[in-house]
């Protein structure tokens, strides 16, 4: 039981050691500069999703030397290379989240804004059937679920 819990925690929290993050970058063909590592590390430390501005502010407060433009450029590059996820639930600004690889969806808590991954999406068969009857062939889909997480429900 304790082991299961521990494993679950290990699996759910992205590894934020420098080497692992560096590896994530080079695997994606992204040159691992000091700034990019810094941004990625900040994102890895987040429970919630974060905007470019939030990450920038957090890093500057901490005394890190990064430019706002670099944060934007980094996040957009990482999102393009599928190192980070882009969430659409906020209309005016883009939110980013460091997630596990592979297709999945997100549970966003409306109370504390914590983001959980909803792995293993078996929506495709249903989707293909529903859309197919209209001659529509799906190539991609995004599902965002808003609700209350376990923690917030308790209080």
């Amino acid at each position: 039981m304790t082991l299961n819990l521990t494993m679950a925690i290990i699996r759910s929290v992205p590894d934020s050691s420098d080497t692992k993050l560096r590896l994530r970058l080079s695997r994606a063909g992204v040159r691992p500069t000091r700034q990019r590592l810094t941004v990625l590390k900040a994102l890895a430390a987040e429970q919630h999703d974060a905007t470019a501005q939030e990450i920038y502010a957090r890093l500057r407060r901490r005394g890190e030397r990064v430019g706002l433009a670099t944060v934007y450029r980094t996040l957009s590059l990482l999102s393009e290379r599928e190192v980070v996820d882009e969430l659409a639930h906020h209309p005016t600004e883009t939110c980013y989240r460091l997630c596990s690889p592979g297709h999945h969806h997100h549970l966003v808590c409306s109370e504390c804004h914590r983001v959980e991954e909803l792995g293993s999406c078996d929506l495709e068969p249903w989707l293909d059937r529903a859309a197919g009857s209209r001659g529509f062939v799906p190539t991609s889909h995004t599902l965002e679920v808003v609700g209350l997480c376990a923690g917030c429900r308790a209080s």
Copy 2:
């Protein structure tokens, strides 16, 4: 056959007669001004979704007297009152669509940007099960499907 087609067309194209649109507004508790009717009519005439700027440009080109701010204010009000749907698939600007009432999702064609409604969403049971195992209680969800519509697939 002809009858079926006709009925399908009637059902799929929102009624854009002034009286019907006027009714939609008052039912939503929105005062039916000339500008609001104009915006709603423009939206009803769209096959695709449309941004505030697009609708504004279209109306001005047609010689209609509306301000850009009014278009923004109208669309946001109508979206709030659930007269129109708001699509999130475009990151930088908000797209609007006049849809049939009730919970549904959207099929967006990546080629021609036509938007089709995916009625009858029986996702909830699946969602409750998937999220529930994490203690997460969904309150709402949005699903956006991108793909190729029948017309574009043919060419």
